[in-house]
Amino acid sequence: MNSPRRERRTADPALSDPERLYVITGDPDGSERAQLDLVTMIVAQAQPTPTVQPEQAVILRLCQAPLSVAEISAYLGLPFSVVTSLLTELLAAGLIESRAPIVRATLPDRSLLEAVMHGLQKL
């Protein structure tokens, strides 16, 4: 990641929260993260139960429709690793299901894309 140094966000105390990320992640040592990447799609399998963490409840609500891990991470404003460990717990509990994004083979064929192109050109 040697993109130009990202501009430092000025730490805004109004936006910071009292809790630190490790509280949400849980025990950092014991957790083995599930293999998820940014584009893995997540679908909730159940409604949030009262016992799950608030963040996990939000994930469950967000993922009523499939959503990528990257999007979940962005919506929650949490780093990717935090989201994956939350998702790992949910996966272990069977509350969500993950699946790889559609690979190229399952994409619509060339004719469809051409149709898209033509449709766009008509605009």
């Binding site: 009292p18 990320l21 490790y22 509280v23 293999q35 584009v39 780093p79 690793s81």
Partner: protein
């Protein structure tokens, strides 16, 4: 003493009276002897008798005078004695008054912040009872006040030094924490680095709590200010994040209230100390349970551990420590190996009207109950009602749901086959390599429906109203799509947080792909790597 002597006439008569009897006796004896003896011896006898009588007279007069002087002197001494006794008694009274009334009043005034001179003027000179205080006592009072004043000044400066150092440490820790948070964002995709960062973060938070404790014991208020109300759940998690064994803490049924900004930091700190106590003095495999319920006077936060129960003496000692801290003990009371926790909690409780009590828990351990007064609670919506660090997550998601409602019917159809896919397809996202950006561009536009205009409808765009799906296709302005999407987000109520842009639904990164599909030249920032792309919301 002239005044105590009797008048001279009385004195003379009393002397005469005292002299009379021996003179008469002597005279009688002389006369009798003169009558008895022969005529020849009469003359000498009479002479002898006369001489003896005179001697007796002289002696008697002298004796009587002595006796009288003695008496008068004794009277004088008795009077003086009584006088002295009275004075001693008054002195005693004065001393008692000095120690019981004057000095406490003066020291109280001194503590309030007056200088010794002012105190002397106000307490001693203004009160007629003390106005004629002897100089020595006055000096005594002044000296005592001066010494106390000096000592207080020294202690104050020592405490200020403590607080000063603590403040510096706090400042460093805060900066460190925000930097760490930044790094956590930055390295969020690298789990190994991320976990290490979390460990450092945790250690930093522990240091921060110690610095806070020192500041509180130094008599300062917690420095950190939270400008807005914070949900109680976040407050408790904040407390959890400052203790060593946070994974052992369970939060159950936390009342959905928010704590006003000024009370957040002390509450976090007090809870952190109580949680630390609970985790530290209970077996490592037990859990610590935290509940927060509303009670008449506010919110009762109960922290129960499964440790050994406090014996009655230990409980008394702990409560005593709490009480002493609440009464404002100084640092000297903490002893050599200070158990700071209770002292800190007691101090915070005194400063902020919290009530703390330690009881026996049903789990066998200790149950600490912290009652937060109603004045600290606000039931109004906290900013970012959501719990947790994703403070914006709840509103976004709520609105998101709302926004999705009118989209969902259209999306049900495509969703069903998707949901079934895992049954047939390989559910092996695990081994899937990270797709290069170029491949992902192809992957993303999943065409599932067709609009009336002959355009495919992407499922991922479901969040936007149906009508807007055509819009990104206008290639005139490279940023049109983004702006448009942003506007849509607002139209859907996505961004309640104003124009800051942080609330822009970060899912709009897909716009970049849309643009790419449309052949629109890309904003260089968005196509560098997908990390930046999905982090875009933060950059704005």
């Amino acid at each position: 003493m002239v005044r105590v002597e009797s008048p001279p006439i009385d004195r003379e008569t009393s002397v005469a009276r005292a002299v009379l009897l021996p003179v008469l006796l002597m005279g009688g004896a002389t006369a009798a002897a003169a009558a008895v003896v022969s005529a020849a011896a009469r003359i000498p006898v009479v002479w002898c008798g006369a001489v003896a009588t005179v001697a007796v007279v002289a002696l008697s007069v002298q004796l009587a005078r002595r006796a009288r002087d003695l008496r008068s002197q004794r009277a004088v001494y008795e009077r003086r004695f009584a006088d002295l006794e009275r004075r001693i008694a008054t002195h005693d009274d004065e001393t008692v008054r000095l120690s019981k009334e004057l000095l406490p009043a003066a020291i109280h005034r001194l503590r309030v912040g007056n200088s010794p001179e002012e105190v002397l003027r106000d307490v001693v000179d203004a009160d007629e009872m003390y106005r004629e205080l002897p100089d020595a006592q006055r000096t005594l009072v002044y000296t005592v006040l001066n010494i106390i004043d000096n000592e207080e000044a020294m202690r104050d400066s020592a405490q200020r030094a403590f607080v000063n150092v603590a403040r510096r440490v706090q400042a460093i820790v805060h900066r460190q924490a925000s930097e760490l948070r930044e790094m956590e964002e930055h390295h969020g995709r690298n789990p190994d680095v991320f976990d290490d960062l979390l460990r450092i973060d945790h250690g930093t938070a522990l240091i921060g709590r110690l610095a806070d404790s020192i500041a509180v014991l130094g008599g300062a208020r917690p420095s950190r200010q939270w400008p807005k109300p914070v949900p109680l759940f976040s407050v408790l998690r904040g407390a959890m994040s400052r203790i060593l064994e946070y994974p052992r803490v369970d939060l159950h049924s936390i009342a959905k209230v928010a704590i006003i900004g000024t009370a957040v930091e002390p509450l976090i700190h007090a809870c952190a100390e109580l949680l630390d106590n609970a985790t530290r003095y209970s077996p490592p495999q037990t859990r610590v349970h935290v509940t927060a319920v509303e009670v008449q006077t506010g919110i009762a936060i109960e922290i129960e551990d499964g440790g050994v129960s406090l014996s009655e003496e230990a409980r008394a000692r702990a409560e005593n420590m709490l009480a002493r801290a609440q009464a404002g003990s100084n640092m000297n009371d903490l002893g050599e190996s200070p158990r700071l926790g209770m002292a800190v909690v007691g101090r915070l409780a005194r400063m902020y009207d919290l009530q703390v009590s330690l009881r026996q828990s049903a789990y066998g351990g200790v149950r600490a109950v912290l009652i937060v007064p109603r004045a600290m609670i606000t039931t109004g919506p906290a900013p970012g009602i959501a719990h947790g660090i994703g403070a914006t997550s709840r509103p976004t998601s709520d609105i998101d749901q709302e926004a999705m409602k009118h989209v969902v019917p259209a999306r049900r159809k495509p969703r069903t086959p998707v949901a079934q896919r895992p049954a047939t397809g390989p559910v092996a996202p695990a081994t899937r390599p990270v797709v290069p950006a170029a491949a992902m561009e192809d992957d993303v536009p999943v065409v599932t429906e067709w609009t009336a205009g002959g355009l495919p409808q992407r499922r991922s765009r479901g969040r936007a109203p149906l009508g807007s799906h055509n819009l990104p296709a206008q290639p005139a302005d490279p940023t049109a799509g983004q702006r448009n999407g942003y506007a849509n987000g607002h139209a859907n109520g996505h961004g309640p947080g104003g124009p800051g842009g942080k609330e822009q639904p970060p899912g709009l990164w897909l716009e970049a792909f849309t643009n790419a599909v449309n052949g629109v030249p890309q904003d260089p920032k968005t196509d560098e790597d997908s990390d930046d792309a999905w982090d875009k919301g933060d950059l704005k």
